[in-house]
Each structure stands twice: as C-alpha cells, then as structure tokens.
C-alpha cells in the first residue's frame, strides 16, 4: 500500500521562513485570530493571477521566522468559488509562485463542531502538521456546551487549542502550541509520522483507498507517470516530484470535473483521463453515489471523533433568533433595513463633510503657500494646478471611503450583512443579481471605488463582475457638484404638485437615471458576456456578535491606504496630463506678468487697508480682467482647446458647444474636473466651485456666435444625463482592472458607459428641444 507521507519538509528549512496557513469555514473568527497573532505587521497584496486579497503576517515563533497566511473562508477542499480555489491551491502548494504551506491551523467555530470537522477531516488528509483551534469557545460555554479539548486532541491526533479570539482568550496557549509545532517542522519524522499513523483512521471507507492505490498503479503502468527507479511504494522514489500525491488522486476521483482533476491533467497530460474515468466507474460499482459516500463517511468520522468530547447544553442561539425575528420581520425588518441604509448613506455625506472640508482647506492652504513662495511660471502652475489640485481631488474622498468601509466592516462583522442580503435577494434578482450585490451597489452611491472593492463579498464570479459593471452607474458623490451647479443655474425653482420642488425632482431623476439604466445593462450582461446557469443562493447567517475593533480598524486602514496608493498615483498622473494639455502650447509670459502684478497689487491693498485706494483697485480689476481674457485665449489655443474645437461636430448633436465638450473631455479622469475646467474656460481662472456666483453668471451669459444662449434647459439636462451615465473616473476603472485582473472589463465598462452617455445625452437634448419648440 502506498504510503501517505509524500510530503517532505523543505530541505534546510531551519533557516527558511515557515509558512503557516489559517484555514476555516466562513464566520469562524479567522481574521480576528489572524490579527491577534500577527498584530499589525501585515502585508496585503493579491495572489498572482487572481483578485483575492492575500494577507500575510510576519512573526517569530520559537526563534523561527514565520509567515502567517490568512486564507479565504471555505467549507471544504472541493473549491467552488475563486476564493476557495485560492485557499485550496495555497494549501496544496499548487501556486507555482509560492512554496507549499508547512503548517496548517484549522480554525473551527466551537458551537458548530460537528459540521466544522468535515473540513478538518479533509485538511488532515493533506498530511501536513496541523493544529486545530476551537474558536468562540466562550460562546459555546455560555450555552452550556462542554467541549473536552484534550479528548478531542487524542481522538484527532493533532494539537487542539480552545480560544475566544474576540476576547483575546487562549491566544498565548495557541502561540505556544503553534511554536512547538513550527519548531518540529523540518525534523525528519515530524508530520509524516503522525500522518501515516492516522491512515488507518481516515474518514473514507478502506475500499476507496484501495481503489485509489489501484488508480496510482494504473497511472504508472499506462506510463502516464514516468518512473525512473524503484516503485511508488518505496519510501523515496527518485521522481517524487513527478508523482502526484495521494491527496490529489483522491480529490480527482471524488470531484468530477473539479479543480483536482484539472490539476492532474495539467501535471500529467490528458492521457490520464481514460484511466481516471475507468477508476471512477469502478468506484461507482462500489458506491452508488460517490459524493454522498464522501459526505456521510466524513460525518460519521466526525461523530466518532466527537465521541465523549461533547456534552450538549441547551444548544440554542436564543438571542440571535430573537433578533432575527425583529431584523428580518416582514414589516419591521424592512423598515429597520431602510433606516440603516439611510443612516449609512446620510453619514457618508454629513460626517465625511467635516474632514473633507479640512482636506479642502489644507489643499487650498498648500496651494496658496506655493503661490506665495514661487514666481508665476510653468513650475508653479504644474505644482498648484497639476499636482496639488490633482492629489487634493483624490485625498478629499478618503474620509468617505474610510467611513463607508467602517460601516461595511461593522455591519459585516456583527452579522447584519448576511441578513441584508437575505432581505433584498428577491428584489436584486430583478437585476439578475443576488442579495449579495446590494451593499456594493449601495456603497457606489458614495463612490464607485469602494463599491467595486466591496464586491469581494460576492463569491459567484458572474454576479460579482455584473455588479462591478453597473456599480459606476450609481450616481456617486462626484456627480453631485455638477448637478448642483447646473440645476442651480438653470432649473427654475417652481413647486409642482403643491410640495415637490422642480430642482429636487430633477436631482432625484438624475439619481434614478443610473439605477434605471443599470437594470437592463445587468440583465443583458447576464444573458451575454456573463451567461451561465443561475448562481445558487446558499448563505450562512452567522450569529450576531460585537464587531472586533482591530478587524474593523484593519479593514478601514487597508481600504484607505489601498485607495490612496493605487488610485492616487494614477489620478496624479492624469491630472498632470490634463494640466499639460491645457497649458501647452502657448506663450504664458504675459499671463505670468499679470499674475505677478496682481499679487503685488493685492499686497499693496492689504498694506493700505483703511486708506482709500481707488486707482489701485481699478488697476486690480483691469489686470484680473486681462488675465481672464489671456487665460481663456491660452486655453483655447492649447492642446485641450484645439481638441475641443476638433470634437465640436461630435458634441453638437448633444446641444453642446466646444467649451462644454472640452469640459467633458477634461473630466474623463474625474468628473469634478469639469467645474474647474468650466471655470478656466469662462475666464475665471480654475479656482471656482459650484456655488460661485461668477461661474453661474458666466454660464448663464454664454452665447453661440449668433447670440443665442448656449445653455438652454435641454442642453443642461443633456449635460447632466451625460455625467450621470459616463464612466468619467480613472480611479474606478483602475479598481475594476485590479479586481478583475484584466484590462478587458475596465475597457468594456468605459466603452459601454460612454456610448450610453452619448446616446442618453443626445436623446435628452433632441427630445427636449422638440418639446420646448412645440
């Protein structure tokens, strides 16, 4: 019989970093445990080729450097979502870019012991040194559930530690036992001995293992596996590397069409398929239903291991069911849900407002500082208009993102998120999505960047991608200034139906446009690019619990940092590019002279505060007027201005002149840019905001060459619809790129949204013009 101890500790591993992986069902408190063990010394990144976030904490255990790896939650080692696939690949050492895992820590929910042992039985078969953690043991205890951890340790043949991670209980013991296990790695008989000793006590029927051994011999006989010396029953065949381990063979037999089968084919070639199918036929003659056999065998095994371990208490999750009675109630539950969402939504606007004002003030201050310290010139223009304006435009969203992720983390960690998905699943199905898509979409009303990042909670790839594709259609806060400016300037403040203000109605319609367009887009996607069988909705509703502050903090920190670093670098580059296009070519000498003179006049005015300085003020007005004209001319002859004239024919059907065209073009990296671009264009310098009377006045007064006004109601509506639908946000596109790990999806969302925006704006203008004409 083939031995199971194929796993050999890496040579010379005493000096190498030991890799310890945390694995477990979702909602077992794995992240809390990870934070408790690794502290904040955590590196995050993506697994190569996949979008799953990888968390690695470097620590020292018993003098040895250890990398603690937090794997995505999984119910079994037969992976079905990309998340689970990563967990399994890391565990089995199938990621080419990474060495295999040395030690496995299997985290269980102590209140769900029997079910959790299903995963344990699969993990033990990997033959790696394993430690089992019974987390949430305090909860189990409070329910009168007595667990004899020592007995379980004997039964399982591997260390078992009880913890309550949220209260930092049992962490020291866990660290100690883990250190012992880590120290034994690399010592010749560690792990392998215990594995082979366990063999006779494994979960599946003996005949299954026999068939598995036959499968191996068949593979060798049919020359699928090159054998150079000896036979596989020898302890160390020269070609160990060529031999798939027992674990892989077993999983390939058990999971038809699963990951192990694909991996085996990759390793040994398609020639093994006939042998595989032949062996499966044999299995079927022994067991009616192989999947059933595995499940029931494992549960039987679990029952055997729990013999004498558990003494049952009341075993009810009283509080959770009571709370669920309220929170998922037909009327009350929906009302609370709506209230909560409103609260989150409102806080993102109102609470984030304060730090956003501070950041705005800080960027203004920095800009003033540079303006004062430097002579007018290309470098100053680059720093103030390019760098500070660009970076400030990104940093200003950090409070919103941090706050949103704070709410997401709290709602998720306390267990409410699963209920929210449960409540709205039926509604989200109208979009072709599931309840799990709700929160990412909701988040996108604040900003699509965290919204897209929040889609990570969706396991199903097609649902996840569809959600990402429609998230930018939710009207984000960056569109609001555009709406406010244009509505404030052009929509008469009349009341309709006795209570509804027309401006509010128009604003609401802009938010509705995105949502209404998202429905067909999502449905079409689900029937074309993301076609496939309906994703099942099976979701565990965890017990309610207090969120762990360290986990919440870590999530907020990570999201903010990621946003700043990744999106920030690109927004910076983009705003420098736009600045350059608006600056070059052109002779800015006169502009600088005027700027310098203006600064001088201002200084003089400040100095002679109280004394009347009529001529000086007159000169100031003259200079700023000339400056506006010159700046405007320079912009018109700049690259951006020329492009604006070039694209004018294309934007005419939307009712736009070249200036709006340029504004829209300049705001492709970020929508907010339109305000400052319009400000520049209408000779006011870039420094205006949506409340600036000057800008409102200027756009009201803007005319076509024939004297008719540029901004009519149809034009204004067309601009707003364009902004509501267009993908003018480099950050979002880049986040989509990162989350899908492909350029295809950001390119697609950019294209479809731009086309939609163009058509939507054109329809709005044409229909609106007919209306106002008729």
């Amino acid at each position: 019989m083939a031995s199971v101890d194929q796993f050999q500790p890496p040579a010379g591993s005493t000096t190498d970093v030991i890799r310890v992986a945390l694995v477990g069902n979702p909602n077992t408190g794995k992240s809390t445990l990870f934070n408790a063990l690794a502290g904040m010394r955590v590196r995050t990144g993506n697994y190569p080729g996949v979008t799953i976030t990888k968390k690695v904490g470097r620590m020292t255990l018993g003098d040895r450097p250890v990398d603690l790896i937090d794997l995505p939650g999984t119910y079994s080692l037969a992976p079905r979502s990309p998340d689970e696939m990563v967990a399994v690949e890391v565990l089995s050492g199938d990621l080419q870019s990474e060495p295999p895992v040395d030690v496995i820590v299997c985290v269980l929910n102590a209140t769900l012991l029997q079910r959790s042992l299903f995963l344990v039985s699969q993990v033990l078969e990997l033959g790696r040194p394993t430690l089992v953690v019974l987390n949430m043991s305090d909860t189990a205890q409070s329910r009168g559930l007595r667990i004899d951890a020592q007995r379980l340790e004997q039964n399982l043949g591997c260390p078992v530690v009880s913890t309550s991670a949220s209260k930092r209980g049992g962490i020291d013991e866990l660290r100690q036992r883990l250190a012992d296990l880590v120290m034994s790695v690399g010592q010749s008989d560690a792990g392998s001995e215990s594995a082979s000793q366990r063999r006779d006590d494994w979960a599946l029927p003996e005949s299954f293992y026999q068939i598995c051994d036959q499968f191996r011999s068949h593979l060798i006989q049919s020359a699928c596996v090159p054998v150079q010396s000896g036979n596989p029953t020898d302890d160390l065949p020269a070609n160990t590397a060529e031999l798939p381990d027992d674990y892989l063979l077993q999983r390939a037999l058990l999971d038809r069409g699963g990951a192990a089968e694909k991996r085996l084919v990759r390793k040994l070639g398609a020639a093994i398929l006939p042998v595989l199918n032949e062996t499966r036929d044999q299995l079927r003659s022994d067991f009616d239903d192989v999947v059933d056999m595995e499940c029931s065998s494992r549960y039987t095994w679990a029952g055997r291991k729990l013999d004498g371990v558990l003494s049952q208490g009341s075993g009810s999750g009283g509080l959770t069911d009571t709370l669920d009675g309220i929170l998922t109630h037909r009327v009350l539950g929906l009302a609370i849900f709506a209230g909560l969402m409103l609260l989150v939504f409102q806080s993102i606007y109102s609470l984030a407002g304060y730090p956003m004002d501070w950041i705005d003030a800080a960027t203004g201050w920095a800009s003033d500082l540079v303006t004062d310290a430097m002579q007018p010139g290309i470098l100053r223009s680059l720093i103030t208009d390019g760098v500070i304006a660009g970076v400030g435009g990104v940093v200003i969203f950090v409070p919103q993102i941090a706050l949103l992720f704070f709410f997401l983390a709290v709602l998720e960690d306390c267990g409410y998120m699963a209920r929210a998905a449960f409540l709205v699943d039926r509604i989200m199905r109208l979009f072709g999505l599931s309840g799990k898509s709700f929160l990412p979409l909701m988040s996108s009303f604040a900003c699509a960047v965290p919204g897209v990042m929040a889609t990570r909670v969706i396991e199903n790839r097609r649902d996840r991608f569809a959600t990402m594709m429609i998230a930018p259609l939710m009207s984000c806060s960056a569109r609001l200034p555009v709406y406010l400016l244009l509505i404030g300037a052009f929509i008469p403040s009349v009341t309709i139906l006795g209570f509804l203000g027309l401006p509010a109605l128009v604003l609401m319609s802009m938010y509705a446009v995105g949502v209404l367009v998202a429905i067909p887009v999502s449905l079409i996607l689900k029937h074309t690019m993301l076609r496939g069988e309906a994703a099942p909705f099976v979701l565990e509703l965890p017990e309610y619990q207090w969120p762990d502050p360290t986990v919440v903090f870590a999530k907020v920190w990570e999201a903010s940092r990621e946003f700043l670093v990744r999106a920030g670098t690109l927004i910076l580059a983009a705003s420098i590019l736009i600045w350059f296009a608006a600056y070059w070519p052109g002779d800015h000498t006169r502009q600088y002279e005027l700027q310098a003179e203006l600064a001088q006049i201002k200084q003089q005015l400040d100095a002679s505060e109280s004394s009347p300085a009529g001529p000086l003020m007159q000169r100031r007005d003259e200079v700023s007027e000339e400056l506006k004209v010159i700046s405007s001319d320079l912009l018109e002859s700049s690259l951006l201005g020329r492009v604006g004239h070039a694209i004018e024919p294309a934007v005419r059907p939307l009712g736009w002149d070249w200036k709006i065209g340029v504004g829209a073009l300049a705001s492709f990296p970020a929508r907010e840019v339109i305000i400052s671009t319009l400000g520049t264009i209408y000779s006011l310098g870039g420094d205006v905001d949506e409340e600036d009377e000057g800008l409102i006045g200027a756009i009201r007064a803007a005319t076509w060459p024939d004297g008719s006004p540029v901004y009519t109601v149809p034009t204004v509506l067309s601009v707003m619809v364009f902004f509501a639908l267009c993908a003018q946000c480099v950050s979002t596109l880049l986040v989509i790129r990162r989350e899908t790990n492909s350029w295809r999806w950001p390119v697609f969302s950019f294209t479809y949204m731009t086309v939609l925006a163009y058509i939507g704006a054109m329809l709005t203008y044409q229909v609106g013009s007919l209306w106002s004409a008729g």
Binding site: Y75, R115, C295, T328, R330, L334, R426, L539, E540
Partner: protein, 78 residues
C-alpha cells in the same frame, strides 16, 4: 416525504436526501445538510424567498429553488 420549501415556519423535520449531484448538492452537504440530520424551517424572507432554516446549529438561508431539492421526513407528531 416533503421538501424544505413546503414546511411551515417553526416546523421541524429530518433530512432524507438532497437531490442532484452538482455543486449545490455537495455545498449543502458540506454545510451540514446530511441525511438523518434534524432540520427546522425558521422563516421566509419578507418577500417570500429566500428561506431560513437551522441545521446542525447553524442558520442557512437558501432560495426556494434550492430548498425544493432538500427532501424531508416530517417529524412524527408526538
């Protein structure tokens, strides 16, 4: 023999089998839907779907479509 979606709120039963051999069937099994295990139907979502039930101490939400595949033996009225 009945299916999970046909139980009344609060009703208990014993799992007999899960129909099908696809991913969902195995996922349900891994989550504790094993023949012989007691199951309790807790409630439906406000719009009637999905359903919430309790198996092996955990609460699982699943859609009616999935629930139809869980065959049950109603608990004998005792």
């Amino acid at each position: 023999m009945t299916t999970l979606d046909q139980l009344c709120p609060g009703e208990k039963a014993t799992i007999v089998r899960i129909a099908g051999v696809d991913g969902i069937a195995s996922r349900l099994r891994e989550m504790g839907f094993v023949p012989g295990q007691p199951i309790q139907f807790l409630r439906a979502a406000p719009l009637g779907d999905p359903l919430k039930c309790s198996v092996q101490g955990s609460r699982i939400a699943l859609r009616c479509g999935e629930a139809q595949r869980v065959y049950l033996e109603p608990a004998s009225a005792s």
